[in-house]
Each structure stands twice: as C-alpha cells, then as structure tokens.
C-alpha cells in the first residue's frame, strides 16, 4: 500500500508553488545587462546518479569491501527517538570505535546513514538529501520498528511507514527501541553483508532512481530541490 | 613754539582718528577724517617752521645770497600743498561713496554694510 491515495492529490504546483529563491529571477549585471538566473539549473548539478561498477579484479573488490566493512563512518543525523540509542555506542561500555565505526559530521565523508527512528515527511526530505550527498558505496540502516512499518505511528498523517520505498535500506534493526547491543549486532551483520559484497544500495538507488523519486515526491509536496542532490 | 604747533596737529590727528573709529555715522566719519587730515597738514607745516625766519620768497628783503639764513624750509610748504589737495580728493570721493551707500540702503550707519565678511 502506498502511503498516499492518489485521489486526494491536489494540484501541487498551485498549492505548493516553488520557493521564491528557486524561481527564475532577473538580475542586472554590473555592466547593466539583464540576465536570467534559473537557480535550479544554475546553482545545482542536474546529473543523474550513476551506477558504479565493482572493481574489475574480484580480489581487489573483496579487499576494498573488507576495508569498507571495517571502516564504517556514520553520518551523525538523528531523525527520531532512536537517536538516543546511538549515543551509548560512543561510551566506554559499548565503544563502537573498536569496530572501526565512527561518527562523521559531514555526509561527504560518511558511508552509513542511520535512520534512527521514524521519519516525518519533513525529515524525509533532509534524509534523502543527506543520503544523496554521501559518496558511494553507502549504506542505509533502518533503526527501530517505525522505519519498517510505521510502528506506533502506523496511522499518522505525517510519518513515513516503509523506509525502503524511499531509500535503499541495507539492514533493519527491529525494536522499539533497539538497545545498543542490538545496534552493535546490527553493525556486525552489516559488516558481513558488506564483506559479502551484498550492500550495493547506492547502485540500486541509481538503477531504480525513477521509482525512488516517485515515491519521495508523492509524499514530499514542496519538492524544492533538484532530483538528485550531489 | 614748534612743539605747540606739532602737538596741536597731533591732537587733531588723534581726535580725528578717535572720531572716525567711534562714530558709526558715515558722514561723521568723513568729517572726523578731514579733521585728522587737517591735523596732518598742521604737522607738516610745523615741521618746516624755523623760529625767526620768513617765508621762502626771494625778494628785496630776502636776497638770494642770504636766503638760506633768512627763509624757513620751503619743502614742507610744497608738500603740504599736495597733501591738502590729495586729502581733499579723497574726502570728495568718500562723500560720493557715502551718497552711493545711502542710496543703497537708506542708511548711513556703517554697521549696516557688513554683507561681505568672513
């Protein structure tokens, strides 16, 4: 089931006009000429994501995958209540660092996007953007029941029920909330998957780009960004 | 004797100056200046005066040979003539100016003519 009934779709263009700063505007150059600026074209890269092949030599790819698995850099992005369970991983008791896991403040340097709890429509937009700004190979882990089926918010008007309709999820960690131990177990599983070469979420996202975009746009009404956020 | 004439001249000068600088009325200033001019002229002739001598005109009483012992100094007399005429000229000019100024503002108070300043 889709989250949204098409019958209720309204004329989005009218109701959610493009943000003012993204509408084409006319500016005067220093020389006095008038030029058109189309922000979405001029300021954002429009290229679609590419499918990146694996390394040509399998052993190299395996080596890379081993390194990727042992160097999981998490984007520090807490979406919901699950984020509270992430913090203990940095403490002496759990210390995820010893597994090569660390938190990076910028998506450019992170490989792993933890969707820590439910995503509201508003947060989804940010999550999508953050995900797209990460460099592949990259992984998505859904944390908690809410990311799987909406959990206790299954009938909410404002939350996302099935995360994998919007982002290529590599792994779910069930629970409401999953305890840090469960998270660690999840990371171990993710490592195994990566080492096995099964985590090709980035390529999957690129392959099924249209599908993901359609789903994303069906809930995010004020889509005020390019299709792919480089 | 000569001192008295001199002193008179100087007093006239000073009185004229004082009057010219304290009276705001332009005509009074002009009059004051003529007094001062007169004072100057008195001083001029007083300087040329020498006691016991006569006017510098050569005639039977004053033959050329003894002229230099008999006559007073003729030069200040010549000078004073010029000075008088010049003083007169300036006085006349000032009067004409006074007239112009009066026409300009219907006033003869010098403190009314101060547009040009600073």
């Amino acid at each position: 089931m889709k989250d949204v009934d098409d019958k209720f779709l309204k004329n989005i263009d009218k109701e959610f006009p493009l943000r003012e700063e993204l509408r084409p505007r006319t500016v005067t150059t220093p020389d006095g000429q008038e030029i058109e600026i189309e922000p979405l074209k001029d300021y954002f890269c429009e290229a679609a994501p590419k499918v990146h092949p694996k390394a040509y030599i399998p052993i190299v790819e395996n080596f890379y995958n081993w390194a990727r698995a042992n160097s999981l850099w998490i984007l520090g992005f807490g979406t919901g209540c699950g984020a509270i369970e992430m913090r203990p991983l940095m403490t002496p008791r759990f210390d995820a660092y010893r597994y090569g896991i660390q938190w990076r403040p910028t998506p450019r340097q992170a490989n792993l996007l933890m969707i820590s709890g439910y995503l509201s429509v508003k947060t989804l937009k940010r999550a999508v953007r953050a995900y797209e700004q990460m460099q592949g190979p990259k992984y998505v882990v859904g944390l908690g029941s809410c990311t799987i089926n909406g959990g206790m918010y299954w009938d909410s008007y404002n939350t996302i029920k099935k995360l994998d309709q919007y982002l290529p999820v590599d792994l779910y960690i069930a629970g409401c909330m999953p305890r840090p131990e469960a998270l660690l177990a999840g990371f171990m599983d993710l490592k195994k998957l990566i080492k096995a070469g099964k985590c090709e979420g980035a390529n999957k996202y690129a392959e099924n780009f249209a599908f993901y975009k359609e789903n994303q746009k069906s809930v995010i009404k004020d889509w005020d960004m390019p299709d792919y956020n480089w | 004797m000569a001192q008295i004439a001199l002193a008179t001249g100087f007093v006239l000068i000073l009185a004229g100056l004082y009057g010219a600088l304290t009276n705001r009325d332009i005509l009074r200033m002009i009059v004051a200046f003529t007094i001062a001019d007169t004072g100057v002229n008195v001083v001029l002739v007083a300087v040329g005066y020498m006691p016991g001598r006569t006017a510098p005109i050569l005639d039977a009483a004053v033959p050329v040979a003894v002229a230099s012992q008999r006559i007073i100094d003729p030069v200040p007399q010549a000078l004073v003539l010029t000075a008088i005429v010049i003083g007169l000229g300036i006085t006349a000019l000032m009067l004409a100016y006074a007239y112009r100024l009066f026409r300009l503002r219907h006033s003869l108070d010098i403190s009314n003519f101060t547009e040009l300043k600073w």
Binding site: A127 | G16, F33, V43, L44, L79, I110, F113, L116
Partner: protein, 1042 residues
C-alpha cells in the same frame, strides 16, 4: 632706447586726452586706451629685455633737469623693469577682461584704469618718498574707482572700507615722511640711505613710514578691507589689485627698507610670516573663490615681505628669490582672477565647470603649481634658494614657518583643484569667450615662460630643459590624440629613455631604473584597455615617470629635489583621476609636500647654502648637523614609503586610483622613497642623536609599519585598500632591511624593490581587472570568480604565494635573505613585530584570493568575462617573471650583491652555480623548485588516477546540514572574515594615527573658523584693526629696540 618716463607720460597723457575725444565714440576710446597700455607694456618689455641681456645699464632718470636728491628721480633697473612689465601687461590684459564694463562706463573708467597702471608704474620707478605717497594715493583713489566696475553692489561697501583705511595709511605715511625728512633733510631714498642720521625720532618716523607701507600690503589680520575688495570687485580688476598693486607695494617696501636699515628687517619678517601663515589658515575655511584668492594674495604678499625681511641673508640671491615669488604670485593670481571671470558660480565647487575644457584644467593646474612653488615654476627655484640661504644663516624657525604656510596654502589650493576635477559641474557653468580664455592663457604662457627663464638663469639647473620634462610638455601637446596612440608613444618614450641611460648606472640604480622605467612601461601595457582620449592621464603619468627618471639621474641636491617634486606633482594628478579619490589625493599631496619640505630643509641643512651641492657630498656634512639632516631626510623619504605614522594618505590614494594607476603609484612610486633612503644611508651611514642610533629608530618604524600595516590590512573589506595597507607593510619590511645597515639588509631591501614592484603591480592589476568587471571593490560582494576569470586568478595566486614568502616563489628568497641579515644585526626586539607580520600577511592574502575568487559566485556575476586582454597581459608577464626570478634570483641580484659588497666591504653571499650560500645557511632555488614540482606532480597523478571521474558539481551542491543554501550572498563567508582576530587584536585597529592627523586638521580648521570671525564686515572695525595692528607692532618694535 625710449625713456621709461614715457610710461608715465603715455598713461597720464592718454588719460587726460581721452576727454578730447568726446564721450560717445566708446570703441575708439577703448581702442586708444588699449593702444596706450600696449605702448606702456612695450616700453617696459624693451627695457626688460635690454636689461636682462645686459644691453643697457640701470637707468637713472632725472626730472626737472636736476640731479637727485633735489628733484624727483626715477630708476629702472632689472627689478623695476620686470615689475613694470608685469604691471603694464596685467593692466593691458585686465583692460581686455574689463572691456564690457569699460565700454559701458566710457572714458571715465578707461582714464581711471590708465591712471592706475601709470601710478603703479610710477610707484615702481620713483625714488622719492613723497612721490611714493602721491602715487600710493593715486593708486588708492583709482582702486576706489575701479572697484565700482563690479556688478556686485557690495563693492560699494568694499570701496568705502578701503577708503577709510587709505585715510589712516595716508595719515601715518605723511607723518612718517615729514619726520623722516626732518631727520634726514632729504626725501630721496638713496640720499636718506647714504646719509647717516642721528636725529631723535628718526626711528619712530621710519617706523610710521614703514608700517604705513606694510599696511598697504594688507597684512594679516589688518586686512579685512582688502579682502572685501577681492570678493566683490570685478575679477579683471582684482587681478591688477593683487598682481600689480601688490607687487608694486612690495617693491616700495623693499625700496624704503634699504635706507631704513637692517634693524627693521626682523620686524618685516615677523609681520610677513604672520600674514603668510595667518591668511593661509583663514583661507582654509573659505568657500567663495574670489575671497579665497584674496586670502591667498595677502598670504603671498606676506611671504614676499618675509623674504624682504630676510634680504640680509639672501645676498645676491635676493632678487632671484623675491622676484621668483613675486612674479609667480602675480602671474598665477592674475590668471586665477581672470579664470574666475569665466566662471559663473562663486562657490569653490562651481569650478568643476572648467572640467569641460581640458586647457582650462591645465591653466588651473599651472596657476596652483606656481602658487605653491612646484617645479618648473619660478616659485620653486625661489623656494629652494630661500631655504638654502635661511638654513645657511641658521634661521630655521623662519624656514619652518614659511614651509608651514606653504603647506597650508597647498592644502586649500589643492582641495580646490580637487573640487574642480571631481565635484559635480554646476549648471551655470562657464561663460567662456575667446577674449577671456585668451587672457587666461596669456597668463599660463607667461607662467611657463617664467619657469623657463628662472631655470635658464646661469648657475641654475633648468628643470624644464631636461628631456623627460620636455617629454611631459610634449604629451600635453599631444593630448588630442587617441589614448592608444599616446600609450604607444608613452611606452616608446620610457623604453627609449631607458635605452639611453641604462649604461650609466651602478647596479643598484639600475635595479631602480629597471623597476621604474621599463617597469612602468609594462604597467602601461594595461592602459591599452582604455578607450577614448583619456585626457589628462598621459601628461600626469609622464610627469611622474619624468620625476622618477630624473631622480635616478640626479647628481645634486637641487636636481634630486626638483625630480622629487615633479614626481609628486605628476602622481598627484594621476591619483586624483580615480573616481572617489578627491580627499585621498589631497591628503597624498599634503603629506608629500610635507615630506618634500622636510627634504628641502634637510638638503639645505646639509649643504649649508653651498650651491650646487652634489649628492655624494652628503657624507661630508659635519658631525653636529649630520643627525639632523638624517632626521629630516628620513622623514621626507618615509612619507613617500608611507611609514606608520605618515601613512594615512596611502590607503585611500592607492585604493581609489584608477586600475592602471594603482600599480604605478604602489608598485613604482613607493620605491622612490626607498631610493632616497638608500642614497641617504649610503652617504650618511649611521647617525645618532641624543645617544639614540637613528638607524635603530628607522628599524623600529619599519617593523611597526610592517606589523600594523599587515594587521590593518586583514580588516579591510575593500580589495584595493587591502593591497594598499599591504604596501605599507611591505615597505616596512624594506625600511627595516635598509635600516639594518648591513649588506644583507640592503640586499633584502633591493629584493623587496623588485618583488614588491612585481607582485603588487600584478595584484593591483588583477584586482583592477576584477573591478572593471564587477564594478565593486568590496570583496564580500564578489566570490567564486575563479572559473570566470582564470587568468586573473592565476596571477593573484602566484602573487600571494610570492608575497607571503612561501617557497618556491621569489618571496621566499626575500625571507631567506632577511633571516641571514638579522643574524648579523644587533636589533632583536623589532624583529618580534616583523616575525608577527609574516603570518599576518598570510591572512590578508588568503582573504584576498578567497573572498574574490573562491566561495560563492553571485547572481549578477554569473556571466562575467575574463578581464580585458591588456590587463591580463602584464599580469602574465609579471607571473612569468616571478617564477623565473624565483628560480634564478642571481640574474637580478648577483650584481647588486657585488655592488653592495663594494659599499660595505664584505661579501657574505657566495653564488655558486645555482646555489647561494651565506655565512649561516644556504639556499638552492632550483632544487627547491624541482623537488616541489616533482612531488606535486606525483601526488597529482595519484589523485587523477583515483578521481579522474569525479562528478563536476555546481556551487550549491554543498552539504548544508541536510538543508540547501538559499542565495549565494548568504552562503559566502567573506565579510569580517577574520572576526576572531578582530576580537583578539582589534585594539590595534584603533585609528590613533588617523585621529592624530584628524585632530591636527580639525585644529587648524577650527583656528581658521575662529580667526575668520575676526572679519566682521564692519569697515570701522577694520579700521580699528589697522590701528590696533599699528599699535601692536609699535609696542613690539619699540620693545625690540629697547
């Protein structure tokens, strides 16, 4: 030869005879008047030429067939002839200027004018005291008459005030004359002088005589009456009043003071100086052009009076000096008054109307330069000789006051010139007609001719006759040509001159010459990007280059100083061309003049009046004087290098100048100061004053400049200001190097001469190119231009790497030499500042490149193009040079190093192959370059191997905390870039120096405002002022006698 009496006879006879012609045929009357004036002028010119060429002797003319002292006699010597020529020519031209009024009034007015000119001529010629009185009264009455020619009704009031004072003068004069006669028994000036007097009261009589004549000179502050005349009279007449009457009155004082005796000279000097300084101060607050000219006139008269007071020390130079000043004043002031007749508005700002006509600007500039005493005009030569004589006689305070007065005068004159060039032109504009313009240009021609004559007098160095200055004149003549053609000619001229002279220079001069002359040519390449005719640019630029060229050529103090002034003048005009540069050009001029006066005083002190004094004799100055010479010269040169404290002119001047002017004034002009310092230190060496080693003081100033310049630079938002402050910092380094007084210190400074020229020119051109495209200099309004202006970016990149001293570019060489130099020096503490300045320099440079070229591109700039080719070309030449110089520093430095070694007698650097070794360290530029290049390329290849397929993204594709940027403006971190620095070190930004100079300016202006309240406008009060003045001087004089 025609008898000079004819001047009087023609004037008078024609005045009388006009009545016979009837009063209706006005044109005929006017024609006769002109003819008479022309005849008078011709006679005086014939005499002038005859006397000047030595064809005839000084003429003594007896009247009444009796020899003096018994009859009135006249004399025509060279001075009289020159004055007669001035007077009669002024009269002739003034008659033309007054033609409309004269034609309306008919014969009366013409007769009065003729009598006036005749009377002034008589005043000049007569040798009889009482005759002087007669002529003075004639002049006074005629003046009172001609004042009325003005359409301004206020002139009537002015005339009356004038008459009131004339009366007082007449009274004093007559009393003085008669008692002098009584004491001496003679009225003949020469006879009085020749006869010793013992009579009591003679001194007092002489005092009354002199003071009356002095009041005739409108001494400050007893001169309100005269100023009103200047303000309200017709300018055609004011020209006579200022130029002719004033000069003649001065001459009368000069005549009378000779028999009066030398004991009166100090009094005259005092009054003259008071008048000169006081009038100029008051003039600062004037906004009416004619009144300002009036103040300037009385000021100039005061100056000459002071010179008369100094005749005892001037000796043979007396006529030359006084004459130069008087004639400069007369020609310039007459010209300015005639110009003011052309202008309709009376505010100073209204002179902006002349901008529409380039020749008018030239005329204005000529007159102002004449008044201030800049080369090539006579006032300049006069000022020089005066300073020499005064210093030789130990009268430094007099010189100081004169220079102060000139500086103040320059302040308002150049401010006025700035108004004319920069302010919005009023609608009323010009009422130019051929005759008025012709009269003005007659004065201009007269000014230049005088300049030539004063230079051509034997024993002088004729500034106008030097090739570079002639080139400037040629470029004035070439103004109608298109700019591009003129540019070709200018470049050719520079290169040609260099080809002509380069063989004569020692290596150090050669480096300066290369930077200044061919270096200037390279910068001129950028001027090809300008279109149109660019009126005014080439003469100014060539004047600056001419000054620089002559500076290097100079062998004597005088040549050096003349070159210095030419350079200053040229660069002032150049700087003034900038769009917003009016106040900055003014402050540049004032600081430069102040500095130049320090040089003047220094040179005079050093030479002790001996002329000509060769530059390399500087070392022979006596030990007591040497430190003072050092101080004065150093102040002068440091004004040009903008050392901290004397720097406030620089940021504005460099930042607001035009695109191709900024590199000239920054890259090249600043080096003139360094050159001067080199010349000075080479000869004077170390000096100490009160136990303080002056080179240490210099080093401290250099260090402070280097540090504070850098600190201030990082807080600038304006790119060109940033570079300008950076220049202060860089010159601080160079100053420090020079002041180290060792071999490597000097080599360091030479390295800075080259490097700073190259990278600062390059950066200014680059920023100028950006400005040309973006029309802003505020860095935070730019950003992201790297893709649009790649070449400009490269030049800035190369420039900042070089400038910050990061290897491998040439700036590092400077730092290396610096470290080696300080190892030799005893100075340690100032080094802290220098050390700190280095990384701070890095800050502002990074800011420059980041905020302009990196970061976010702004909406309006999205379609900008690369800077024009002609702006980029010199930058690329510079960049190539920087890299080459970095690899092969020896090509420029090795010979200089040898030369400096010959001065210090050591050779600390060993140039071996490509490596340079010093006592302490070593430096192999080639190796550095190769290692860095190889490593860089290797790493780059690795990166390419991995990231060759990177997706090129656009400027908003940045991580933004899962949001996206809205506008480039809000995403560009640029304004107040070093905010933390401001928090930590902002205290250094406190504008102490600016406040200080601002306080000085405000103080002087306040004094001016206060003083001018003195002029209440009440004629009676003015008369009281005169009386007060007389009494005050009397008390002072008698006190002095007692």
């Amino acid at each position: 030869m025609v008898s000079p009496v004819l001047i009087i006879a023609i004037g008078l006879g024609t005045a009388f005879a006009l009545g016979l012609l009837g009063s209706t045929r006005k044109t005929l009357l006017f024609g006769v008047t002109l003819a008479a004036l022309a005849a008078m002028a011709t006679i005086s010119l014939i005499w002038l030429v005859a006397l000047a060429t030595g064809a005839t002797e000084t003429a003594e003319i007896h009247t009444a067939g009796v020899a003096p002292p018994f009859a009135i006699n006249l004399r025509v010597g060279i001075a009289e002839a020159a004055l007669l020529a001035t007077v009669t020519l002024t009269g002739l031209l003034a008659a033309l200027s007054l033609r409309a009024q004269l034609l309306t009034l008919g014969r009366g007015g013409m007769a009065v004018l003729l009598v006036l000119v005749m009377a002034i001529s008589g005043l000049v010629m007569t040798r009889d005291l009482f005759n002087i009185f007669v002529f003075i009264e004639l002049v006074a009455i005629a003046t009172a008459g001609l004042v009325l020619l003005s359409e301004d009704t206020r002139a009537v009031c002015a005339g009356f005030k004038f008459l009131v004072v004339s009366q007082i003068i007449a009274i004093l004069l007559l009393v003085g004359i008669i008692f002098t006669y009584h004491a001496n028994g003679s009225l003949n000036i020469d006879d009085i002088g020749a006869t010793p007097v013992a009579a009591q009261g003679a001194a007092l009589a002489m005092f009354l005589l002199l003071i009356a004549l002095v009041i005739e000179l409108k001494p400050f502050p007893a001169n309100g009456w005269a100023l009103d005349i200047y303000t309200s009279a017709h300018p055609g007449f004011s020209a006579i009043f200022s130029a002719a009457t004033g000069s003649a009155a001065l001459f009368v004082v000069d005549k009378v003071v000779a028999p009066a005796g030398a004991e009166w000279l100090p009094l005259l000097t005092g009054i003259g100086l008071l008048s000169f300084v006081g009038s100029n101060v008051v003039a600062l607050r004037q906004d009416n052009d004619r009144r300002l000219l009036g103040y300037s006139s009385v000021g100039q008269l005061g100056l000459v009076l002071a010179v008369i007071g100094q005749r005892d020390v001037l000796g043979d130079a007396y006529l030359y000096v006084a004459g130069g000043l008087v004639l400069s004043h007369a020609v310039a002031k007459a010209g300015l008054f005639w110009m003011s007749a052309i202008l309709r508005g009376r505010k100073l700002q209204d002179w902006a109307a002349i901008r529409a006509r380039a020749p008018m600007v030239l005329a204005f500039a000529t007159f102002i330069a004449m008044l201030v005493g800049l080369p090539p005009f006579p006032g300049f030569y006069a000022k020089w000789d005066l300073a020499q004589a005064l210093v030789a006689a130990g009268r430094l305070p007099v010189l100081g006051l004169i220079l102060l007065g000139v500086l103040i005068e320059a302040a308002y004159l150049f401010r006025w010139f700035g108004f004319a060039i920069k302010r919005e032109a009023p609608e009323s504009g010009l009422s130019a007609n051929m005759v008025d313009c012709g009269i003005t240009f007659a004065a201009v021609a007269g000014g230049w001719a005088l300049g030539w004559i004063w230079g051509a007098i034997p024993g002088q160095h004729n500034v106008l006759a030097t090739l570079p200055v002639l080139a400037v004149v040629a470029f004035i003549a070439l103004e109608p040509l298109p700019a591009k053609l003129k540019n070709v000619l200018a470049i050719a001229a520079l290169l040609g001159w260099f080809a002509l002279v380069y063989g004569d220079y020692d290596p150090m001069r050669l480096i300066f010459a290369v930077v200044m002359i061919p270096g200037g040519a390279v910068i001129l390449l950028a001027s090809f990007s300008e279109t149109g005719r660019r009126i005014g640019f080439y003469p100014s630029a060539m004047a600056m280059y001419a000054g620089l060229a002559l500076l290097l050529e100079a062998n004597t103090f005088f040549e050096f100083f003349a070159a210095w002034e030419v350079m200053t003048l040229g660069s002032y005009f150049l700087i003034l061309r900038g769009r917003m540069s009016e106040p900055h050009a003014l402050s540049y001029m004032l600081f430069s003049l102040g500095g130049a006066f320090a040089l003047l005083a220094g040179f005079a002190l050093a030479s002790g009046g001996v002329q000509p004094f060769a530059l390399d004799q500087l070392g022979t100055v006596t030990a007591e004087l040497a430190p003072w010479v050092f101080v004065l010269l150093a102040i002068g040169f440091m004004t040009k290098t903008a050392a901290m404290g004397l720097h406030i002119w620089l940021p504005g001047a460099h930042a607001e100048a035009e695109t191709d002017v900024s590199p000239m004034v920054s890259g090249i002009l600043l080096k003139a100061g360094l050159f001067g310092l080199f010349v000075m230190l080479m000869q004077l060496g170390r000096q100490s004053l009160w136990g303080v080693d002056l080179t240490v003081v210099l080093a401290w100033i250099g260090a402070i400049s280097a540090f504070l310049g850098a600190v201030l630079s990082i807080f600038q938002e304006d790119a060109k200001r940033l570079l300008a402050y950076s220049s202060i910092s860089q010159m601080g380094y160079a100053l420090f190097g020079v002041a180290l007084m060792n071999h490597l210190g000097w080599l360091l400074a030479m390295m800075f001469v080259i490097n700073h020229y190259v990278y600062k020119s390059m950066l200014f051109l680059a920023v100028g190119g950006v400005y040309k495209r973006t029309h802003t200099k505020l860095m935070y309004q730019m950003g992201g231009l790297i893709t649009l202006m790649p070449f400009t970016f490269v030049s800035v990149l190369v420039g900042i790497i070089a400038m910050s001293g990061v290897p491998p570019l040439s700036g590092f060489g400077g730092r290396w030499i610096f470290y080696n130099a300080i190892m030799d020096a005893d100075l340690r503490l100032p080094l802290i500042l220098i050390f700190m300045a280095g990384p701070i320099g890095f800050l502002y440079l990074f800011r420059l490149i980041h905020t302009i070229f990196l970061g976010q591109l702004k909406d309006p700039h999205r379609q900008l193009k690369e800077a024009p080719f002609w702006l980029v070309l010199p930058q690329m030449i510079f960049a190539a040079f920087l890299i080459a110089f970095a690899v092969l520093p020896g090509m420029a430095l090795q010979r200089v190093d040898g030369y400096i070694g010959s001065i210090f007698g050591d050779q600390p650097l060993i140039w071996q192959g490509r490596a340079i070794t010093s006592e302490f360290g070593y430096w192999n530029p080639v190796a550095i370059m190769v290692v860095i290049a190889v490593v860089f390329v290797a790493v780059f290849l690795i990166l390419i191997a991995k990231n060759h397929d990177a997706q090129k993204v656009k400027q908003f594709n940045i991580v933004f905390s899962a949001e996206r940027p809205y506008r480039p403006e809000t995403t560009h971190f640029a304004w107040n870039f070093f905010a933390p620095y401001r928090k930590a070190m902002g205290i250094l930004e406190t504008p102490v120096v600016t406040s200080f100079w601002g306080g000085v300016t405000d103080g002087v202006n306040g004094a001016a405002e206060f003083t001018r309240r003195f002029y209440t406008g009440n004629g009676q009060t003015y008369a009281a002022h005169v009386l007060l003045f007389v009494v005050a001087v009397y008390l002072i004089a008698m006190g002095g006698v007692a």
